[in-house]
């Protein structure tokens, strides 16, 4: 079972950042449940996808302590955009201002199970984590990061828009 976590402080944004991921999982036959991060308590899930939210939404950064369970979690996590920032925040990474809106080319720097080669991706970000020693970058621009020992991934672009296979590959891990 996969848990999809909404980070949206505005319900209307969930149509844009959560529903497309639910539909993708449904289409590919994965079982899932969706919860807002306020309501995440039990972690009886194999995998967790932490969704993105609107460019102006930073409520989740004020609530970073609500994600402290991440450090003890044994399963696999994919954090998309704000989800990536949450993982980074839990592991003590600082954020730098980096506004990227629209399509940009990404080049995978390391062979990995999510996505490889050179590809175009859709970005909607204003902050990017500064990597620390707990994480490595899987791309030349740090747009996909991975914890050194755990299967925790962060992705600063929106693979649900272009590159849906990244999410499907994560669900198959």
């Amino acid at each position: 079972m996969i848990l999809i976590i909404s980070t949206c402080s505005q319900k209307l944004n969930e149509d844009e950042f959560v529903r497309p991921i639910e539909k993708l999982l449904l289409k590919n036959g994965f079982d899932f449940e969706t919860k807002h991060y306020f309501k995440v308590s039990e972690l009886e899930y194999d995998k967790i996808i932490i969704c993105g939210t609107a460019l102006k939404d930073f409520e989740y950064l004020k609530d970073i302590e609500k994600f402290s369970w991440i450090k003890d979690y044994d399963g696999k996590i994919l954090g998309i955009c704000s989800g990536m920032q949450i993982i980074a925040g839990v592991f003590g990474m600082k954020m730098k201002e980096n506004v990227v809106i629209g399509i940009k080319e990404v080049v995978a720097a390391k062979q990995n199970t999510l996505i490889n080669g050179k590809f175009k991706a859709y970005f909607l970000i204003s902050k990017q984590p500064v990597l620390n020693n707990d994480f490595i970058s899987l791309t030349k621009d740090d747009s996909i990061i991975k914890h050194k020992s755990k299967e925790f991934y962060g992705c600063s672009f929106h693979p649900e828009v272009i590159n849906q296979e990244l999410i499907v590959n994560f669900c198959k891990l």
């Binding site: 505005q10 209307l12 149509d15 844009e16 460019l55 102006k56 859709y122 649900e160």
Partner: protein
């Protein structure tokens, strides 16, 4: 939150408006009247009907005209959104974007610059699901433009209904036509919606059609009691 809805008067912007109304206070509609019929950003057929749609909805309309030159259009859009922010204290913008990253990234950029929220409640929705939701939500729209092979003249002025969905489903499989018109294959005009106090009835119309490209222009229309 006080919201301005980017409003072309077509089916998608009406559905986006309908969804936004359930969560937020809609303080204005924002329309861009483009003189360029090939506009990358803005719907053109019957854009003048947005005046009647706004009146029917009881929501003020901020209307800005543009010559429709590719990047100048964006400056005009920014001007319109900025005007809505100043006049109606808009805090966020709602769009009917479904799949165009070209359109959405430009609107997001403007919202970022003006420090506004941006909502795209139809984003990535399946096109057939979108059409069904439009019908189920009580939005009554007609086809006001067709711009792709093999869309026929007979489609112009026809309602967006189950019969049309069946036809578009076949065309999608056979010719890769996007059933929601996201690739610019067609445009629609909304004549009635649950949030319209009166419905709009075209009284004088003109059809132009040649080589799989045509418009159904509403030259005159009136309000009809519901």
């Amino acid at each position: 939150m006080k919201i301005g809805v980017l409003f072309s008067g077509g089916k998608d912007s009406c559905l986006a408006l309908s969804k936004a109304m359930k969560e937020h206070e809609i303080v204005c509609l924002i329309s861009i009247v483009s003189k360029n019929k090939e506009s990358f950003m803005f719907h053109t057929p019957n854009i003048h009907i947005t005046n009647m749609q706004a009146e029917a909805s009881g929501i003020p309309l901020v209307s800005v005209s543009t010559e429709g030159k590719k990047e100048d259009e964006l400056k005009d859009l920014e001007r319109a959104i900025s005007e809505a922010k100043d006049e109606y204290d808009v805090e966020g913008i709602v769009t009917g974007s479904v799949r165009s990253t070209y359109q959405s990234s430009r609107i997001e950029t403007i919202c970022k610059k003006l420090d506004l929220w941006c909502f795209n409640p139809l984003w990535l929705i399946d096109e057939i699901e979108l059409l069904n939701e439009i019908i189920e939500s009580g939005i009554r729209a007609i086809i006001s433009g067709v711009f792709a092979f093999p869309l026929e003249k007979e489609m112009l002025g026809k309602p967006v209904d189950q019969e049309l969905i069946k036809k578009l489903t076949v065309l999608k499989e056979k010719y890769s036509i996007n059933p929601a018109g996201e690739g610019g294959e067609m445009e629609t005009t909304t004549l009635d919606a649950p949030f319209f106090k009166k419905k709009i009835e075209p009284t004088e119309t003109k059809t132009n059609y040649k080589d799989y490209s045509g418009t159904f222009e509403i030259e005159k229309a009136r309000f009809v009691e519901k």
